[in-house]
Symmetry: C2
Subunit: 213 residues, 2 copies
Amino acid sequence: MSRIRQHNQHLILAAASEEFAAKGFDATQTRDIAARAGMPKANLYYYFQSKENLYSRVLLGFVEPLLHASAALRESDDPVAGLQAYIAARIRIAREHPHIAKVFSSELLLGARQLPEECRDLLYAEAQRNVECLRSWIDRGLLAPVDPEHLMLFIWSATRSYTNLGWQIAHITGQQTPQDEDYARAAATITRLVLGGVVPEVGQSPRALMFAT
Amino acid sequence: MSRIRQHNQHLILAAASEEFAAKGFDATQTRDIAARAGMPKANLYYYFQSKENLYSRVLLGFVEPLLHASAALRESDDPVAGLQAYIAARIRIAREHPHIAKVFSSELLLGARQLPEECRDLLYAEAQRNVECLRSWIDRGLLAPVDPEHLMLFIWSATRSYTNLGWQIAHITGQQTPQDEDYARAAATITRLVLGGVVPEVGQSPRALMFAT
DNA sequence: GTCTATAAGCCGATAGAC
DNA sequence: GTCTATCGGCTTATAGAC
């Protein structure tokens, strides 16, 4: 693919992510995406054929980071290290791709109808692997007997909300935009709740408090 | 207001909730709402003037339940009872109004631009009261020193996701629709994480396990 | 209050010159 | 590859008869 092609596609994808994140798929106009990318609307169709296809391509940009972050849970066979790494990785990718993360959340909320089926399958398989990992830890007594599916869903929702609803945090804490410190506290609080709630013997011990800092 | 007026408005609001929940504000067509309500489109405009106004009225139907559920946290001066009641109340209202809950989530994700300002203020004030309550518990050593804002955001996100993304749970657990038992387990898992993570001395003791059941 | 028919305008997509 | 001009369909909203 030529240099110019790659550059233009990148510009369009970035502009589309922001527009879709701000207004949702249906309320977003291709005219606005083109304007933000600094080119006439026709070029956008030249590169991406249709609005729907452009949207799919935006979503696609989040799948690989998501899968990578998800795998962090199983990097070692230690629940504490795994859960910590998993939570940190999910917050990091949402922070690195704030717009796409929001688009992705919106897409999930509406039933993921526009997410290509192969992506759904990949993400589903990945989730299953993590559930199996959690179950194995529970079976071996390394983790308290919670529902692994629900625990995972909790981690998903918690890490999603901190970034998606950043404006809410900012409003409540009185700031403009979430800062480094907010993300650190978010990770700390989530980690604390998860570890304190499900790792036997950690509870409120000094060891748990270390992770919560 | 006449009997027939009330009945028709109720029909329209119910139909609108379902349509908005399924497709989002912009993708929803007033034609489809009218069809679902079993009346011509013009009647819908006769009762609600505009699509935006109808949407606001749908959102409004969730504010009172939300405020009521939120107040459950402060019913007694006991953190354990309060957090338990709060989580249970939030899951209950989302379950009682599943469509509106989804519409509300979508609206929050897009920045709450269509939520009437007075509602935002009411909800904000309510949140502030809960933050103050949590802070007071922390100051008196009844609660571990977490960020009260972040703790609240977690409870929000966790309780929201369990109902909004029910289809995901169903997919992962292999069921069609979330059942009574799923909601009970959801509440148990969230309660366990929150109590285990932030209530001193509860940790993984038998007392904590009781709440997690 | 109810309904049909239609206005008014917006937006995704493309034709076709350069 | 780039851009302008425009089409064609669709959707909110209303006019006006009953």
